[in-house]
Subunit: 372 residues, 2 copies
């Protein structure tokens, strides 16, 4: 069977040793006589799993004691509502608009009564191909938070330098680059991430929240209430037990690799190889400003929709899965998450070279990216 | 290794052939070269999985065309909020209080502004050991719904006859007895269930909702909005893909067994055997009114806390896992979900006989059930 490389933006490729471990112990978890899927969430086995998952995440990200780690459901999308519900009632909430997911965060926040949503900066003027700068002087210091999307999965941009927000907490949707390179957790009030990119499976959301930001009064639903979830150590109701188990295994795998600094080095190498191939090509190009290029999600285009479509078709036939760009922007996108093997990058570059030679085309200026 | 029987109330025992299938294809789903855990939720493979899961559930429960089937996250607990948010704004919502989960549904509904929550009937007067009758004449026919908990997981009661509610839609939390015995879906406006008992893994919630009850206007969050979830066929954001895959396998397994009528017969046999053993014992007793006894969750007690504790300890040592009653009621509880093997019931009864012989005790009237 031919090798398959999975460039999916999420759910995404998982580390092979993790999948093998899951397979190996699926019918009998640690001699319990039960599958991990069958364990009660109140059992000592599962208590160990969830506390190990938290411990490993704390170690990997150097999460200080005064931050809670929550394992929730509903994806980043549910956080778009939970954040303003819990943190911004009768206050101002700032958002930086850097793409599709920022826009959703903004439109969800606007649905919450008594929250004054303001867009602090936006890169929509140039199809989200860069990260806009923020003037700290424009930030009302009584605001509830400034929300950013550290990595824009669809557009392929990333925050390298975090904005200065004074005493206003910085809140980040880190779904697509958590654990890919170091961020100082102390610089954030809240970090949240859907797990299905660098943490593990779909159906799990990690929230890291500073103690003083946790709501003091009840919100409209226990499930949407950071305080209730924190007081119950993510066991207010039945959590997604298998997803947390898998996350624990992925975190262990990452620690064994050498943690975030080690994976960052590998991620930068994978991304550099691909960007170099794109930049040196006469056919492919990156629409993204160089300083703001993501190392996780790398969109590229030929400038010609038919050639893009031909490339995607031939690439898939050759075993490169999910290279097609998001339906909202078109072109191609290679998601190179932590578990994506470097061999897949080498093989993709080879394939791009061959395709370019066959097609004989060259870059055009007819850029349709995010403009279709 | 000794045989383990898992009486967990959820996450619970899963069918062995399903677990074996998961294990077998975990590294390479249908020759895709990817694990099912790695599949994009927009891939044809996953589209097939989710549509098959829906199709099988529709067949098993005979769900009419004018009902939507949604695969959501957050458990029944999140439905406690979504229901009144979407269905009962500026209206009256009736609840029947039959135990811990009904109480939570009521208290969550009360948090939603502009919903008039009314308890229509309650069995709290007798520690929830029966299902209260409802006088249809007392139901305001303009109310949004009447909410019941068809099976009370902690207390061990079940609705056999559904209440008459006139034209007011009946809404049911069916988490712990969905697919265990037939219910006529047409008699309900909404049915919802956490998956981790009879459907599959934790982290998945099934909602079956009649078209005309789906909200027309936006609610406060896309993730909490039945209309948005229905319009997007449960793919508004990344769904819990693996949990849906596992649910599909469980539903296939149930169909191969002969569907709900076949499993009902088996469930009734398992329950009858255990109830007979309890009723004929001089040591054990059921606190539940005979007509309202659940066939899924069977609580029993000796009437003496120390003897209960001794039984639980010895039972666990003998391989009977999770027999301890819920911490809120004490005693013992055997959850006999669809996937629980009848051999486990025979072995438990044997064990109970031996224990009774050794202890030599007899039933007392010092009933502490739900009174501790």
């Amino acid at each position: 069977m031919k090798t398959i490389y999975n460039f999916s933006a999420g759910p995404a490729v998982l580390p092979k040793p993790v999948l093998e471990k899951v397979q190996e112990e699926l019918l009998n978890y640690r001699n319990s006589g039960m599958s991990v899927l069958e364990l009660s969430h109140r059992s000592p086995w599962f208590e160990d799993i969830i506390s190990q998952a938290e411990k490993r995440l704390r170690e990997l990200m150097d999460i200080p004691e005064n931050y809670q780690v929550l394992f929730l459901q509903g994806g980043a999308s549910l956080q778009f509502s939970m954040l303003p519900l819990n943190l911004a009632k009768n206050q101002k909430a700032y958002y930086v608009n850097t793409g599709s997911w920022s826009k959703k965060a903004i439109s969800e926040a606007k649905k919450i009564a008594d929250v004054q949503v303001e867009t602090l900066a936006s890169s929509e003027d140039e199809h989200f191909t860069y990260i806009p700068k923020i003037d700290p002087a424009t930030i009302d210091q009584d605001a509830a938070y400034v929300h950013i999307t550290t990595n824009n999965t669809i557009e392929g941009t990333v925050y390298t330098d975090l904005p200065e927000t004074g005493k206003v907490p910085l809140v980040a949707d880190m779904s697509s680059n958590i654990l890919s390179a170091p961020y100082d957790v102390r610089k954030f009030g809240v970090i949240y991430a859907g797990a299905q990119k660098n943490i593990g499976p779909a159906g799990l959301t990690v929230v890291i929240i500073r103690d003083d930001l946790i709501n003091r009064s009840d919100t409209i639903s226990a499930m949407l209430d950071y305080k209730i979830q924190a007081d119950n150590h993510s066991l207010y109701n039945t959590p997604p037990t298998f997803s947390i188990y898998l996350a624990k295994l992925v975190l262990e795998w990452l620690q064994e690799l050498g943690g975030v600094p080690a994976i960052e080095q590998l991620n930068r190498k994978k991304a550099r190889l691909l960007y170099e191939a794109i930049d040196q090509s006469d056919l492919f190009q990156s629409p993204i400003r160089i300083a703001d290029r993501s190392i996780m999600n790398i969109p590229f285009i030929t400038g010609n929709k038919e050639v893009d479509a031909q490339f995607n078709k031939e690439a898939q036939a050759a075993g490169f899965e999910n290279l097609k760009g998001h339906r909202s922007v078109g072109g191609m996108r290679a998601s190179l998450y932590n578990a994506f093997p470097i061999e897949g990058v080498y093989d993709l570059i080879d394939f791009m070279h061959k395709f370019e030679k066959n097609v004989g085309g060259k870059k055009t200026n007819d850029i349709h990216y995010q403009n279709i």
